[in-house]
C-alpha cells in the first residue's frame, strides 16, 4: 500500500537560513509526488510535483524538491527562508488508476525573525 512519512512534525529555522523538510514514501513503482503548503486558516496549495525526468524540480517561491528512487524520498528544500514561509507543509503521493492521493501528516515550519 502507498504511504507517506514526514518524520518531523515541527521544524524551526531562522529567517535567511536554509531549509530541508523530509519526506519518505512507500510504493513499488515511481508515483506522482507532490508538496503542498497550507497557510493558517486556508486550504492547501500545490508547491511542486514530480513524476519523471530531472530529479530536482523547481516550485514556487524558491522551493525545490529532489526525488531519490534509491532512498524513496522526496525532500523539500529552500536556500533562504522568509518569515512568510511559516506554514504547514504536506508531502503527497499518488499512483495507479484509482485516483487516490495520500498525504503525510505534515510538517509545521516556524521561521524565527
Amino acid at each position: 500500500a502507498q504511504s507517506v512519512t514526514q518524520p518531523d512534525a515541527r521544524v524551526t529555522v531562522s529567517e535567511g537560513a536554509s531549509l530541508q523538510l523530509r519526506c519518505k514514501y512507500s510504493y513499488s513503482a515511481t508515483p506522482y509526488l507532490f508538496w503542498y503548503v497550507q497557510y493558517p486558516r486556508q486550504g492547501l496549495q500545490m508547491l511542486l510535483k514530480y513524476y519523471s525526468g530531472d530529479p530536482v524540480v523547481q516550485g514556487v517561491n524558491g522551493f525545490e524538491a529532489e526525488f531519490s528512487k534509491s532512498d524513496s524520498s522526496f525532500h523539500l528544500r529552500k536556500a533562504s527562508v522568509h518569515w512568510s514561509d511559516s506554514a504547514v507543509y504536506f508531502c503527497a503521493v499518488s499512483a495507479g488508476n484509482n485516483n487516490r492521493i495520500f498525504f503525510g501528516d505534515g510538517t509545521q515550519l516556524v521561521v524565527k525573525p
Binding site: Y36, L44, K49, R100, G104
Partner: protein, 112 residues
C-alpha cells in the same frame, strides 16, 4: 484558476443532528474529494468521486455519506453527528491522480 467553494465555512451542530457540507467546483474536474484534518492526523480521506453519480469510500467513511449529483457539486452528509466528528473538513477537486488538487478553504464543524 480552479475555484473550489465550500459552505458553510463554520457550523455548530448538536449531537444526533444532521449536517450537510457542500462543495462546488468551477473547473470541470472529474474527481472530487472530502478530507478531514485533525491535529496529529494530517489529512484523512473520507469519500471521493470520479464523476457525477459516483461516490467511493476513502479511509475513514464510517459515519459519513457522500453525494455527487453533478460534475460541479459534491456533498458530505453526517446523518447523526457526534462530537468525534468535530474537525475541519476540506473539499478538493482534480482532473486525475497525477494532476494538481485544488482545495477549498475548509469548513469548521463543531458538534456539541
Amino acid at each position: 484558476e480552479a475555484a473550489v467553494t465550500q459552505s458553510p465555512r463554520n457550523k455548530v451542530a448538536v449531537t444526533g443532528g444532521k449536517v450537510t457540507l457542500s462543495c462546488n467546483q468551477t473547473n470541470n474536474h472529474n474527481n472530487m474529494y472530502w478530507y478531514r484534518q485533525d491535529t496529529g492526523h494530517g489529512l484523512r480521506l473520507i469519500h471521493y468521486s470520479y464523476g457525477a453519480g459516483s461516490t467511493e469510500k476513502g479511509d475513514i467513511p464510517d459515519g459519513y455519506k457522500a453525494s455527487r449529483p453533478s460534475q460541479e457539486n459534491f456533498s458530505l452528509i453526517l446523518e447523526l453527528a457526534t462530537p468525534s466528528q468535530t474537525s475541519v473538513y476540506f473539499c478538493a477537486s482534480g482532473q486525475s491522480s497525477g494532476n494538481t488538487l485544488y482545495f477549498g478553504e475548509g469548513s469548521r464543524l463543531i458538534v456539541v
